[in-house]
Symmetry: C2
Subunit: 334 residues, 2 copies
DNA sequence: TTTTAGCACTCTTGTTTTTCGATTGCTAAT
DNA sequence: ATTAGCAATCGAAAAACAAGAGTGCTAAAA
């Protein structure tokens, strides 16, 4: 679609801009990026790239800046995804070999690793409840009026929650509850918990609404409503020049502080393992000044959690995507 | 120590500055705050207050700003701690009446409430491990190679963690572990876990290092190393004019991102229920531009968690302290 | 003795003007 | 098709200026 030289010019401008955060002049990329032409020639190419929407110009007499279309073309067609050094590979390996006890811990460590290598802020979230199957559920009596429920799913996720009662319960009752719930829930999708709780009542009606209802409600809360979101390296963003704008900085803090935005950001884009959203491509208005790269940690069809990198549109896509691809391979091997 | 009128002037300047964030001129406080004097008189007082270190002047021809000494005097001597409205009281009550299952949840809700009412950022941390007594510890077998340990303490804190093994364990073994650990740990301070793990070995040596060691290590990790910190309303700070300075904003995000700073900030100052640290009074260099007010949630001598408010030195101490005092009373009644 | 009116002086803030330099687009030569 | 050359454009930084807010001091008033 673009001639070879135009591609080179676009790539040069994107990469130069990613490095410098300054509008790129025709002079800056001549005799570089394999562009052995005079600045005048480059200028002509730049003018045409601007006309077709790949570049923007902050003002008449300034250099060029990639437009969102420009970034998109770069990401889709020009970017190299082997931008990862031996040291980085070693570092990743050492981090991922940490012994973890739970799947969500691994997702967190991965997010932390990506953040450290790319110097962008990372957020992570556990697997989506809807896709998970309940493998076992255990009730443990704590004291006389407290029950802990531990739910294990097929993805290796373990969630626990505490339920308090107004009256004493004994071990025999707990055994029955254990049996009842496992009978109803084992092998079912987590979503089943959304059904009216009456369904959990036994015919015998031994265990009344008083006992069953709070259990179901609490399990629902912890499994479906309470999406745990982890944040890594929020302060890293403040080193970037785009954060000299109060407006942008404020917006950023706001986004990270709003759970719903982050959750949405991570949950959109189911298609691929790695998804890139550039500026206004993001559904959420609040993210229009940022780029997001999400990475779905999957094994087969099983969703094990999602990690997102949030940074300026002038993000080092090549580095981020390279690291994610490498980690993806690494995790699949584990 | 200060004459009555000087106190009034100081108070007026502190409160005016808290409201406006602008240096306070002699004119601004005449015929106000009970100061029915001409601006010239006030000017003389201000000059003397400055000489004795209670006020600062950004430059020769500007109004006055409280110094840290000024704020300190205000907090210690002048501040009113009944700065709380009926609506606020109602709101607090409704929030604190939420049914919680765990002590740390209550601390979080309290932090959230304080943050919402004062519009400052709140951080919270659970009770200090050192002060807690282990009441019970339960081990639950999950699958064949995983153990969940649930530890309950006298403060109502419940912590759970998962331990993975390389080989199968059976229920009988779990029962023994249960018995062993409760035997050793029940009624002891959490700190006991810091002792060399060999002490947990039975004479019979039935359960080898292989089993005991990972359990002790994991419990140690979750109880002592892993201080859970919660953050409420980080974005609120960005509404304040002092955060227009990139420097300050950056510092702030950095502080909140560094667990150790926050933990230290919350753990210092054991003396009173409510502690105020103004600017450089904070031990940590990073906090020198901020004021911290911490609130220790205690029942008797038992530490149940700490909540901290972080904001500009120009903090509304009166509001913050009033709210905390009210909440303190309210919590004690529960 | 205390308070206040009056005024010169200081310093910040905001605005306008000027300067400087980077970069472009176009034209004409290569 | 490429490039050298150059006028034109615009922003960013510096300089110059004006306005205003506030002080400190002095001398008069209470």
């Amino acid at each position: 679609m673009l001639e070879e030289r135009k591609k080179k010019v676009l790539q040069a401008i994107v990469e130069e801009y990613i490095n410098t955060a300054e509008p790129v002049s025709s002079n800056a990329i001549t005799n570089n990026y394999g562009l052995n032409f005079s600045s005048a020639t480059i200028r002509n190419e730049m003018a045409e790239l601007e006309k077709s929407g790949f570049l923007d110009k902050p003002h008449t007499s300034s250099g060029r800046v990639p437009s969102e279309k420009g970034y998109r073309y770069y990401v889709d067609e020009l970017l190299k995804d082997d931008n990862i050094s031996l040291e980085e590979i070693k570092y990743i390996s050492s981090k991922l070999e940490t012994k973890v006890n739970e799947i969500e811990e691994l997702t967190q460590i991965t997010a932390n690793t990506i953040s450290e290598i790319t110097h962008y802020t990372a957020v992570s979230i556990g697997p989506k409840p809807a896709t998970q199957i309940i493998e076992e559920i255990k009730f443990i009596l704590l004291g006389n009026r407290m029950l802990m429920a531990v739910i294990m799913t097929d993805t290796g996720m373990i969630r626990e929650t505490i339920i308090k009662f107004d009256e004493d319960i004994n071990q025999k009752q707990v055994d029955t509850i254990n049996y009842m719930f496992n009978n109803k829930l084992r092998g079912q999708s987590i979503e089943i918990i959304n059904r009216p709780f009456e369904e959990y009542l036994f015919d015998e009606m031994k265990y009344s609404v008083k006992v069953i209802k709070p259990i179901v409600e609490q399990i629902k809360k912890v499994l479906i409503e309470d999406e745990k979101i982890y944040l890594e390296g929020a302060n890293k963003a403040f080193e970037l020049p785009e954060f000299n704008s109060l407006e942008v900085a404020k917006n950023f803090v706001n986004v990270l502080d709003t759970k719903e935005i982050v959750a949405d950001m991570l949950n959109s884009g189911i298609a691929k393992d790695i998804n890139v959203y550039i500026g206004k491509e993001n559904e959420k208005e609040e993210l229009k000044d940022f780029s997001i790269v999400t990475f779905k940690h999957k094994v087969g069809n099983k969703d094990l959690g999602t990690i997102g990198i949030i940074g300026p549109k002038r993000m080092n896509y090549s580095k981020v995507i390279s690291v994610m691809k490498y980690i993806n391979k690494k995790l699949k091997d584990m």
